[in-house]
């Protein structure tokens, strides 16, 4: 089976975090395409292939920040996981919040996992790499139609 390119949708409004994530992901052996949505509405436009995203691909995995402008990540998560077509896409919450309520609520709304973004840069890169290693080479992802 030829190696597939993994399509990742990163929903993140902080440009710094986007750059860090991009760099951390680029170092990994499995080729991946990183797509970025900067707020909740863009994320949904991307997933529903609307407007400027009408040619968007379906992501294999979504990295989702919670605190986003326009529509926050919590609402995006709910919409994804209640959509019969989109719900199979793994959603990894990647948020600065370590509040119990945020963590609990994300899992209740079927987030696949929740990761608190480390403040320390090296740790952040390490976490992104672990995430990538786990989700892109250990886990079997659902089929992308």
């Amino acid at each position: 089976m030829e190696p597939k390119i993994i399509e990742i949708l990163l929903v993140e409004d902080s440009p710094g975090d986007v750059i860090l994530t991009k760099e951390a992901l680029n170092e990994y052996k499995i080729v991946n395409n990183l797509h970025v949505a900067q707020n909740g509405l863009e994320a949904l436009d991307f997933l529903y292939q609307r407007g400027k995203f009408e040619n968007a691909i379906r992501p294999d995995i979504i990295l989702l920040d919670l605190n986003l402008p326009k529509m926050d990540g919590r609402e995006v998560l709910k919409q994804i996981k209640s959509d019969s077509d989109l719900k199979t896409i793994p959603v990894v919450i990647l948020s600065t919040s370590d509040a119990d309520e945020d963590i609990m609520s994300a899992y209740k709304n079927y987030a696949n996992c929740y990761i608190t973004k480390p403040i320390d840069l090296d740790q952040f890169v390490k976490v992104v790499k672990s995430l990538q290693s786990f989700w892109l080479s250990i886990v079997k992802l659902p089929q992308n139609n």
Binding site: K87, M104, Y107, K108, I115, W135, I138, K140, L141
Partner: protein
């Protein structure tokens, strides 16, 4: 992950060899964890719903679930967990021999956190279990039911 917390893991697995391997892989792990084992789907549900002998069972922080188990299938156990208000937040990692596309798809449709196909050989299996634990125990924030 908070220091000093104990992670309660429920392993739903009917193969004693796989149970043993998982147990050993977890024991090497530095963080404190309790492994509970259910050998079929009915036991798993009794554990989770604290029925009979399991009335004092802790709520697991993480569930490792084989699909091909006796009495109640892994798929049905998953569905049941994810429908239940008090249990749906528990991450369920499917850990099974099947690499069948339908099984994988169905698991994600029913809100499995992730799906891992068990490798056939011993050392790869141990490696996978360690990676799984590394990720779920030290990287991931698990939902805490109580703040103790």
């Amino acid at each position: 992950m908070m220091k000093g917390t104990v992670i309660e893991i429920l392993l739903v697995e009917d193969n004693p060899g796989d149970v043993q391997l998982t147990r050993e892989a977890l024991q090497e792990y530095k963080l404190y964890n309790h492994l509970h084992v259910a050998v079929d789907g009915e036991q798993a549900l009794n554990f989770l719903f604290r029925k009979g002998v399991y009335k004092e069972a802790p709520v697991p922080d993480l569930i490792l679930l084989d699909l091909n188990i006796p009495k109640v299938s892994g798929h049905d156990v998953l569905i049941r967990i994810k429908q239940e208000e008090q249990l749906r937040n528990i991450p369920v990692v499917i850990l099974t021999t099947s690499e069948d596309k339908e099984d994988i798809q169905k698991a994600y449709e029913n809100y499995a956190s992730c799906y891992i196909a068990k490798p056939m050989d011993f050392s790869s299996f141990v490696e996978i279990v360690k990676e799984l634990n590394d990720f779920w125990i030290s990287i991931v924030a698990l939902p805490r039911m109580k703040s103790i």
